[in-house]
């Protein structure tokens, strides 16, 4: 194992930051290292620029515009960190919104220490982290909220295989088990996950237009 992953913890609850720092200090020795903390959007942006973390543990509800705002304002940085959302909210709007904003994964605060260390490691390596609930929301988003006829077929619909992977994740399978179930390699599972993530992040013109008009940018 090489150098530990540098982590920035962003949360407006000081007690929670302390808890995460303690937990990671205990279970993530040698694998992750908390390099800085921040409590709102402005301090988070400043901390990203100053501490140069690999992974940002990002609360979704933050004073100053929420976690999405932090991702928007740090996107232009040369080696922008990867974001892992860590939130109490498991509302569909928050989860999908944050993933669309650029987060590589989304876990809720009831996660255990070792699982969190694992998730940070996976995100640092560029993989996505999908919890069962998140996979359910993704399936929901593609099935219900995006009208099929209006969507660019190639880009926005999940392929049959990606859908299958997402359903297995939603059923509570670990990546390894998904691979075994579908007779593919774990690497392929992760490729499918990245593809889902890419599709979620506004890949088509239609989605982009909708996103912009929702925010009155057009």
């Amino acid at each position: 194992m090489d150098a530990p992953v540098k982590v920035l913890v962003v949360d407006d609850h000081a007690m929670f930051r302390t808890g995460v720092r303690a937990e990671l200090g205990q279970t993530g020795v040698g694998r992750v290292e908390v390099v800085a903390e921040a409590e709102d959007v402005d301090t988070a942006v400043a901390a990203v620029a100053a501490a140069r973390p690999d992974v940002v543990l990002l609360d979704v509800h933050l004073p100053g515009g929420g976690g999405v705002e932090v991702m928007r304002r740090t996107a232009h940085l040369p080696d922008a960190p990867r974001f892992l959302a860590l939130s109490v909210s498991d509302a569909a709007e928050d989860v999908i919104g944050t993933i669309r904003g650029g987060a590589r994964g989304y876990v809720t605060k009831t996660i255990t220490g070792p699982e969190l260390v694992d998730a940070i490691g996976r995100v640092a390596e560029g993989d996505a982290v999908f919890s069962p609930r998140l996979a359910g929301f993704v399936l929901d988003a593609f099935a219900g909220s995006v009208p099929v006829a209006a969507v660019d077929e190639d880009l926005d619909r999940l392929s049959e295989r990606e859908r299958e992977v997402m359903r297995l994740i939603a059923r509570g399978y670990a990546y390894k088990e998904v691979a075994k179930e579908l007779f593919i390699s774990v690497k392929t599972v992760e490729t499918h996950m990245s593809a889902v993530l890419r599709k979620l992040q506004l890949s088509s013109r239609h989605e982009l237009t909708k996103w912009a008009s929702d925010r009155r940018l057009l």
Partner: protein, 431 residues
Amino acid sequence: MTTQELHPPLGARRMTRASAETWLGGVASGLAAHLGVPVQWARIGFVVAMLFNGAGLVLYGALWMLVPSDASFERSTPGLEGASRQGRRPMAQRLLGDVGPVGSLVVAGIGLILALQVMLGSFSVLVPLLVAGLGVALLWRQADEAQKQRWFDVDGRIDPVRAVIGADTRAGWARIAAGAALVLVAVSIFAVGSSGLAMAREVWIATVLGIVGVVVVAAPWLLRLASDLGAERAERIRTQERADMAAHLHDSVLQTLALIQRNASDPTQVTRLARRQERDLRAWLYTGDSLDDATLAGALRDLAAKFEDDHGLVVDLVAVGDCDVATVVRPVVQAVGEALTNVVKHAGVERVDVYAECGAHEVEVFVRDRGVGFDPAGVAADRMGVSGSIIGRIERHGGRASVRSTPGDGTEVRIVVPLAPVTSPTHEEKN
């Protein structure tokens, strides 16, 4: 949050009538509270003032009409207000029921009439005036009651009848009828007494025409006022509902924290309490209204909650899509319940994943645990739990169910039920 709205800075102090401790209209207690004097002084003051040509009576009546009741201005903490609205706190009782005020009004009225008759010996003007005054007092008394009830009314609309009568219909109608009758009698007495029957008819017609004219002229304003009031009421009720809900949640959080403090040494109990509280809060914050058990997702949520409470089983429920087809929802939920019972009894684990998906054509549910597992081939034929309660039940409803299990690797139950069966159930069963 909303504390600024609930507690505006106390600038101009407004007098209100006390609605809780009234003999008549609560004017004396309201005035006493406003002036900061004992309530008996205020009452004595009114009685003394009455000696000066009935000035006290006039003053009391005027204040009764003009000063608003305090029932609408009660301000307290959100928790106490919420509890009051839901009837979970002792409310101040009226000192006397309706009988007292009405009875005293009648007695006082008759006494006054007799006294004035003795003093002045004239019927023509005074008697009708007094009778009319009595009727108007009764009507105002009823308006008070209706106003008070409107404030505790949780319906969003203004119902014109309810606005006048209030919810307590029989007493309300009686008061209104008595009041209106008294006023009519007064007008009649005046008309007949002053100029005979022929003239009385003219007075009557003129009165009715006058009333109709006023109503026609004022109608647009009245209508607009009513609709504005309706909108504001709806807004207020929404706010109150949210406040009540928040108060309830804070209350239950406090209860849970108290229980956790007392059970701090019992980790499973603490976990269970925490999870139940979390579920409550989450349902309120994020789930919205889809909590009724008529839909599949709602019913499964209920089921999961039940297992979490009763058996300490952590049910991770993921629901994609939702449907409310009763013929599908009930058997599926029962089968899932059976599968969860098996997990509790045999799997030896504390968490289970449940995934439900409502597609366009079928409903699929998976229940997966990572417990001890078993060998499906080795299950005795007389064990009915799986074959009867899960597979048999689902097949009777035209679906398919299967159980996959490996010893040491956990069990997965898969349930598929078609949404609109195009083929007959027997055909399905053959597959």
